[in-house]
Symmetry: D2
Subunit: 432 residues, 4 copies
């Protein structure tokens, strides 16, 4: 069945998707200098130019090499140079040295994109099989993941510049009323999570499976910058009681005193750096760029203040709470298409706010295979499964994620000390 020819209308639709996704990557780097696109600000981040090349490499190596009878690589060195982590494909250029490769230059990489695009389009116009179309789909989803990384990595790079240049011009956040924190209650029971429908999903979202959940409650919105400033002012970063032991070691070793992109101004108020430059702290807007240790510490601190058993949600609780209403949450969410480029305060409303989009939400769930998990076959077997250790799951997407890339079952994952993602915090609570 996988090898049957595709209906031409399907492959035409896929060609439109391809054009749209590829163009979206270019739009993100519009206005950047060659230098902006070149530099790697830390080993965990990659240059924008590398993202542009690597996503192209993925189409070339995973799709074209599988479908072109007389496949010839665009450039023989690129197979290694732009391989991220696929041992099954071969050697990889050292991750921490991606920023040292000034040649091929940005123009060469754009040429590379155009050449591969043309070959993909040629193949798409020639009745591809269902099976190979699924590789194209994977390539598009892959590129959308890197679109978010282009933004997170650029923000980190610009934050290393003492002049704090803005990626895009400032935009005043619209004034919004305070949305009080309220608790939404869920009964739990024997529920199901995981992807089961027709559309695309990553291997790590399957199989759909049962989990037993005790009754729980979720906060109606994300924790705000103003609330976080109280935690800082109360000495939250100075008191080991609130921190996981590994988190406290991290705070001490790194000298952490506030969220990654916060900066004290001369009158000891906070300034917050973002893709639209530096602006005063917005008390209603959600606090962003937290790591798991910070999110967890805040829950413990506020729990001690309020006498509630506050904690992070599990990923099953989160998915159970969101999945029922996923289309509405997706439609309402602030994704990259909104062009806010920063997490804004919620509009007052009932129910679960900021459920999808705005900021990734840390869960307390270690990133692990679902019961019965099977990695994909072939070179993409390495896509997700091998990272299932020492990472934590984040859910929901952010202002840097493409809306069409997200689902309620989507599992993002980062180490407990990662702060440069668009990551925030929704509180959860036991009910009993």
């Amino acid at each position: 069945m996988g090898t049957q020819r595709t209906d031409p209308t399907v492959s035409e639709a896929r060609a439109l998707d391809f054009q749209r996704v590829r163009a979206a990557s270019l739009a993100l780097v519009a206005g950047l200098s060659e230098a902006d696109a070149q530099v790697q600000s830390m080993p965990d981040a990659s240059p924008a130019k590398w993202h542009l090349a690597h996503t192209t490499w993925f189409f070339e190596t995973v799709v074209l090499e599988a479908v072109e009878a007389a496949f010839v690589p665009h450039h023989p060195a690129y197979r290694v140079l732009f391989n991220s982590y696929y041992h099954g494909i071969g050697e990889q250029h050292a991750r921490a040295q991606r920023g040292l490769v000034t040649r091929p230059g940005l123009a060469d990489v754009l040429d590379y994109r155009r050449a591969v695009d043309a070959r993909v389009r040629a193949w798409l116009s020639a009745a591809p099989t269902t099976e190979t179309l699924s590789l194209l789909e994977l390539g598009l989803q892959h590129e959308q993941q890197h679109q978010e990384l282009i933004l997170t990595d650029l923000l980190h790079l610009l934050s290393c510049n003492p002049l704090l240049p803005a990626y895009r011009p400032p935009a005043a956040a619209p004034p919004r009323d305070t949305v009080p924190l309220r608790w939404l209650e869920f009964d739990g029971g024997l529920i199901q999570i995981g992807h089961a429908g027709q559309g695309f999903a990553f291997d790590n979202e399957a199989p759909r499976h049962r989990q037993w959940l005790a009754p729980f409650a979720l906060a109606n919105r994300l924790v705000s910058q103003g609330e976080w400033a109280e935690f800082v002012a109360d000495g939250g970063y100075l008191d080991p009681r609130w921190w996981l032991s590994a988190g406290w070691d991290w705070v001490q070793a790194q000298g952490i005193e506030h969220p990654l992109y916060w900066r004290p101004d001369c009158s000891s108020d906070w300034q917050v750096f973002g893709l639209r430059g530096v602006a005063p702290l917005d008390p209603q807007a959600p606090v962003a760029h937290l790591c798991l240790y910070e999110a967890d510490a805040y829950a413990r601190w506020l729990g001690a203040r309020t006498g509630l058993s506050l904690r992070l949600p599990t990923e099953a609780e989160w998915e159970h709470a969101v999945a029922g209403d996923a289309p509405a949450h997706l439609a309402a969410g602030a994704f990259v298409e909104s062009e806010t480029l920063q997490a804004l305060a919620p509009l007052p409303a009932d129910g679960l706010l900021q459920a999808m989009g705005t900021l990734w939400q840390w869960t307390s769930s270690a990133y692990a295979p679902y019961p019965g998990f099977k990695p994909w076959k072939g070179v993409v077997a390495e896509y997700n499964g091998k990272f299932m250790a020492n990472q934590y799951v984040l859910r929901g997407g952010s202002v840097a994620s493409p809306r069409s890339h997200l689902r309620a079952s989507y599992r993002n994952f980062f180490p407990a000390d990662a702060r440069w993602q668009f990551s925030g915090l929704r509180l959860a609570m036991d009910r009993d």
Copy 2:
């Protein structure tokens, strides 16, 4: 209720327990030189002398300080010097520098033990309350944990000596028939795990709670040294396909080629170092001192060879499989009282072999709070909860664990790269 006076027969029984547990620690260091007891071979390990002092400090600080009206510390500096990680109690001497404190000497520490023992006995003879007796119980359980660490840390120290001295004299392993690997099947369903009975349990074992398990199978015995030697011979440590990404980084960075205490001999057979010195690899005996990355890689390697979905068990699967028969497994298990000091081959039998004792068994479960987890109150709130990040659960106990210390619900935990524990591997499998 907690403050009622205890029945004298209860406190007499507790006094006997106290004497027995305290004596067991001393028996472990019998025959060691002052130098053996002094040295810290790596930051993760502690000197035997420190273990002897710290367990005493625990009784002094957690019990005596709570029950003696006119509490006076044995030595004012010990409160900091022998505090391991309790911020609630105050400052701690730096962990990595425990081995630099040559004074107090071993004799001083033994005096400290005798003095605190006398004070504890005096208190026990004076009708303690139920509540304070529970602190004594915790002190005893705590000391039993450190008894295992005395052995693991000594083994590591001796392994750093090129002369490879033995902790105890060699003892020939009894010849045993090969026990074939067989699969024991479990139906899963909505089961319960966690501690619920009358006896002692750590806070991290509660509350007992429901979990849904898909059908699964467990291997009847641990993976053997002979089987592991095949993995090594097949290039298991050289092939990234078998390894988690973080595990492969670890293999490469550390240059890992075999389990921690294996050494090639001159004819390229393996020698294995243990508490009874160096001996040739015993093909039937279980392979020990694995880290999670190694255990996980082996499962993936053997799965690829056999076409089975091999993996580590989850802690819920493990507990579900063992808990029903826990008294028999405890009785049959090889614990420290067996004085084997090394994991021996199983005796042929039906059912789950080596379920408890022999070696701790890695699970795929990240160490996390159970739903509804509440840390203990007071200074012991830091006992377990704050370590619930970036660690994995091990189950079952080992030849270095006191039998009276173990339970089916017992959760041990170490980072994914920890190898110096008595840790082995039982394979699990999906059934479908």
Copy 3:
């Protein structure tokens, strides 16, 4: 005397010098992409863009700020951003993070250069004092130092690219006859070294002072690539006998097996990377990019083979041997103006060959103040003196040095493990 007005013909000559030196920097970056000029390949190296900006900052901060009555900085942030190491001037942007500053971009830096150039020229046309002209002279010498660093740092950057791109097009080395190694003898005695004439010299070259030299001999030419290949083939990098203890630690820790830019080709011959790309080893050409440890080890190895007391020259021996004929050596030397960009084999001739230009020559002399050394006054007091620890003196200049920048008394200095400079080796010997 320092404050008298300068003769207009002098300041016109200085204006020509200024234009020439500033233009030479721009010529070095002609043809580079913005990315090439942006990246910092290691903490010891700096981006070409930074060199262009920092040398401009030097004129702005050291000259214009001293001479302009209504000095206004070109950009207020540049004072910190482009300060290299002058604590007396104020804060400095962290050295290892120079490559992260993508804005100001290359065009902004070129604007900065033009603006400062115009202000310097305006001041020069208005009868500057002798004293301030000496600051201009220092700025020019300073810029010439950075011209060499632009080349060394670019070569390092390009060497980190697996495609090994060339800075400038390849140029075949002219065929040259082998020049046999011969020994030139010197009697020593109570000689003098150090700068004493009218022209510019750095503070570290003064005062001219007496030294007693025992009789010695110098090799007539630098050690060649072919000779070095024999050292490698003889296991020179594998035998601790030849190495200083710190050098052997370095060899072991870094896994050093050959000079920095040598690469084995598929037939196990050597390829050598340089500013003109990769080419086969040229046996007659001098071996370059050595560190002191390598140079010293070679002398000991060849000494053991030949029975001679071979060693590096001291800086006094070197200067004594060269200074008498300095004008001829300067005129004959291969400097950056030769545009070879790589060290070529010597032309057969008598006397001291490759004395100046070609490659910097390691001496055995630790970089230390001359007897009676006085640092300059003011902000430039930090120019040289504070680096007089844990570095070694190199003499003579290289194919990357401007000819007008060199003197016989010139003291260059780098740590014993620095390899990315254009540094080679001339052997010396005791006579007795």
Copy 4:
């Protein structure tokens, strides 16, 4: 001539020397626990037990192996285990892991000493040759070097203990009048330094050779603790102006605020830790345990305050000033035989005070071979020469040095950041 038999009275005298030196080592460890003798507090230091074993290994390997016809090693593993750095002899146990070897224990090492002593005495009683006697002499000098290291390494170990235990009982420093700082002037000229007499000297002290010295002055005494406290109080450790660049990097990276063994007490006065425990700062006593960076910074700071060109002496200046009166300086010096174990204030007197003994005096001279230097032949070729990089010369000996071990030509050497030696500071000055 080297192989002629020795006059029996000579070898009897040597046997007495041997007994005396070997006993002196044991006297230093008298009263230490096995733990005290076992622990290695940092990679640069060694356990006392190791010093006792290594010095014995030196006699066994360098002397007995050369003179015993049927040499059999005391223990086959010791050849590697107690080899410090002699590649010519073979493999070495890793330096940083010396403290992990708890077996052989202290009693085994003392047995080793007794067994080797007996064999050395047997050989001495059998008419050794002059040549082999010179190896014995080297062994004795070597052991005396390690005697000083036993004390420096023990002091460091005890300083890592928060209880600050004393090596030997406290002894009140005798009250002494202040000795004003005075300058002793020297004319310099063409002088000679280096060893030339009959007695023992290390290879690095030869050959005696000429040097030209400009006129200079030396301070009559060492810098005192009280003077150093002024430097601290004036922000000396906070101001980059006083520091070599590498020194400032070290101050910043290590967070250095005062000399190694100084500790603020509760009233912000200084306490100083030493081999006799903690005591209040003694303003007249010389400041000890400085590194070169600190010594150099103090000279620059005081120079700026006084307008004098203050600096460290060169080793040639030091030797020229001391050598003429060496017997008197040796006789007057406080060496280990004085049993003060700490540097005391000088007694008022004319001339150069504290010239030898008291504290090693940093010089500005990088440790380098003298002109015409030849390392010894054979296995002891590695003794000194290979360390001639990145170290600085100290002169004069200390309260931890045996008097019979010192000479005016003696060159000690340590890296610029080494602080755990008994090292102090005598100021020097240019005269002009």
